[in-house]
Amino acid sequence: MAILSIKVENRPGILWKVTHLFRSRNFNIESISVGPTEDPEFSRMTISVRGQDGRQVAQMIKQLNKLIDTVEVSLLDEHKTVYRELAIFKIRLRGAQDSMEVNKLAGAYGGKVHDVRRDSIMVELTATPDQVSAFEELARPFGIMEVARTGMAALQRAGA
């Protein structure tokens, strides 16, 4: 997986230009998150891609830099980066036993439980994308009714 952190001008249409570039250069975006930075003139996009070799990713970085609205593009090193994703799961319950086990599982992943009903429960998780996927695997036997994932936000550690 490659994580790209892209600082762009905070203006309409720029998210579209960036995503369009990925499409036109034959890249598939795995996840994307966008939000304002500490300076309201800029936004930060965090985009992760999978299945591309180093040369392809390096080429993508050059193409991103070429966009006039991008101010800074960096490839984040997974080991020197704090990266998290928020996910919300709606999970089916078939009895009190299920409820207890899902609660335990959520606890193990540092998740929070919401909207507990007789036949369903919601779990909110903030974790690395891999952890979110691992939780999803373990929750699958209960029956996952719906999932919403934000895509990851990431920042390089100080001094890294």
């Binding site: 369009h20 080429q59 050059k62 193409q63 830099n65 006039i68």
Partner: protein
């Protein structure tokens, strides 16, 4: 600067950029800017289709190296520009396209003649502006010109809603501005240039490959100095054709699908290439994998995104190629290399070149492409500017028309847009009115924008259409003969129209030339009469363009005439 409407500010901004003329066609959404244009000193050149306006601006831009400007209205006016904008983008030509747009409040309501031209143009422009208030107009135009002409040039779109043209505001015309994410200038890295020289000197079979970037940055003298000092043969890409005088002893001509046999042969044998301002297009290199095999690549380019995109690079030199070559020349002068005249490679290159120049088989008969184009070369002065359409005639021009004065040959090489050559020639003539400008045309391609004859005649812009006419979509016909067992479909023009009478209907000169002597005298007459002229030259529709490197095959598998 005071209170004024957006349209006035637009014209002032164009005048401040030194714009002398715009190519365009008015309509509902750009009427306010046309009204201001009527009051300004800027000349308007009326086209009969917006695509031609873009090609004219493109031709003007390539020759003058200043952005050509074209105007179109919203909706279909703007979409008609798109092919021309995409053509300029593919060939890195500076252009500023100004479109009218429906008023700001109508955007997004599917108004009459509304199109999301910003959205449609995005993949084929260097940048696009849509000022949302009249006060934003001057800075948008200023930045548009800056972006279009700096770094790797390209087209920029300025889409101006009608109310932004008509509303007034207090205007500032900034001389200073900042674009945080745009850094068109990089100083070439001198140690990399030193490494490049070392690599060229230590390799046994070096070659230079000059691309279109060499022409864009006018690095002609520098290229020649490097080639002559190191005694390295010079091939070009098709876009780079004429970056180096093709009558020079070191010239090999273009490589690629319809490259010169000597250029393709020596390119295949080389062990080190100095590639200047080229993106290694598939049409030039054949196959990427075969091309880079056993080849050290030194790549000079202004666009860092081109380094390593299509080929692995041993030494990358990012920056304006003229600046990079200048540094190389200076370093070579400081410590001149030993004479290389007698290297086996230099001898081999010379022999190969001479062999193919004498022995390339061409069809017999008088009216065949090679002889027709050689006769054209004799009739044209070296400084004449030539454009081409797209098709067989274009590739024949690549093979048989020698460019003597660098930077006098232009073609739609990247997008391969039929209909480009004639309007581009008109734009070129506007940029350089003092020299003859001629479009080497084929009938199919000329058909697409032939109504530019009206512009040529009514605006008094005399260009020559040198129509190599087989009444065929000849290149398609050649592929159908070669790859589809002669199942011919959709290629026969059935001798329609009569080009002599077509030219005359527009008020241009129309002549038919049926022998080489008639060609020579028709070209000379067209140059001296200074009237738009179509020279119709009938040829055999069965003539193929050869040599030919079939798509997806390496240069060494070049098919030669039998």
């Amino acid at each position: 600067m005071g209170q004024m409407i957006g349209a006035t500010a637009l014209m002032r901004s164009l005048a401040k950029e030194g714009v002398g003329q715009v190519f365009g066609l008015p309509g509902g959404a750009n009427l306010p800017m046309y009204d201001e244009l009527s009051k300004s000193d800027i000349r308007h050149i009326l086209v009969r289709h917006e695509q031609s306006a873009a090609h004219m601006a493109d031709g003007f831009g390539r020759v003058s190296r200043k952005p050509g400007v074209c105007f179109a209205t919203s909706g279909p006016g703007a979409t008609n520009l798109l092919t021309g904008i995409a053509t300029a983008h593919a060939d890195s030509a500076p252009m500023v396209a100004v479109t009218g747009q429906v008023p700001v409040g109508m955007i997004g309501r599917d108004a009459f003649q509304e199109s999301d031209i910003i959205g449609m143009a995005n993949p084929v422009v260097k940048y696009a502006f849509q000022p949302r208030a009249p006060s934003e107009v001057p800075e948008s135009v200023k930045k548009a010109f800056f972006i279009a002409e700096t770094g790797r040039p390209g087209p920029v779109l300025v889409d101006v809603p009608k109310d932004v043209q008509t509303d007034s505001a207090e205007m500032e015309f900034p001389d200073e501005f900042r674009i945080r994410g745009y850094h068109p200038w990089t100083d070439p890295d001198v140690p990399s240039i030193e490494r490049a020289i070392e690599m060229l000197l230590s390799s046994e079979r070096p070659i230079i490959l000059a691309g279109g970037g060499t022409i864009i940055s006018s690095a002609f003298a520098e290229l020649q100095a490097v080639a002559e000092t190191l005694l390295i043969p010079v091939a070009t890409t098709f876009k780079g054709k004429g970056a180096f005088p093709e009558n020079h002893a070191l010239s090999l001509g273009p490589i690629g699908m319809h490259g010169h046999a000597e250029a393709n042969r020596l390119m295949t044998e080389a062990d080190c290439v100095l590639a200047i301002g080229t993106r290694f297009s598939d049409r030039s290199v054949g196959t990427f994998e075969e091309f880079e095999k056993n080849l050290k690549i030194i790549h000079m380019d202004v666009d860092p995104a081109e380094i390593g995109k299509n080929q692995r690079t041993s030494v990358a030199i990012v920056g304006d190629v003229r600046t990079s070559l200048r540094i190389m020349v200076k370093l070579l002068r400081r410590s001149p290399p030993a004479s290389r005249e007698d290297t086996p490679w230099a001898r081999h290159a010379k022999e190969t070149r001479e062999y193919w120049q004498e022995n390339l088989k061409v069809p017999s008969g008088e009216m065949v492409a090679s002889r027709i184009l050689k006769r054209l070369r004799e009739a044209l002065p070296p400084e004449a500017i030539v454009t081409t359409e797209v098709g067989q005639h274009q590739m024949w021009a690549s093979l048989f028309y020698d460019v003597i004065e660098p930077g006098t040959f232009f073609s739609s090489t990247g997008l391969g847009t039929m209909g480009w050559g004639f309007p581009a020639a008109i734009g070129a003539k506007v940029a350089r009115p003092g020299v003859p400008v001629l479009d080497i045309a084929g009938d199919g391609s000329f058909n697409m924008t032939e109504n530019s004859l009206a512009t040529s005649v009514t605006e008094g812009i005399p260009v020559i259409v040198f129509l190599i006419n087989n009444y065929m979509l000849g290149m398609v016909a050649q592929w159908q003969r070669t790859f589809y067992e002669r199942r011919m479909i959709g290629v026969d023009q059935k001798e329609c129209p009569d080009y002599v009478r077509l030219a005359q209907a527009y008020g241009a000169e129309g002549v038919r030339a049926e022998s080489l002597d008639e060609i020579g005298s028709a070209v000379r007459a067209a140059i001296s009469c200074e009237a738009p002229t179509v020279i119709d030259i009938p040829i055999d529709p069965e003539e193929n363009v050869l040599p030919f490197v079939a798509p997806g095959t390496p240069l060494r598998d070049m098919i030669l005439p039998s």
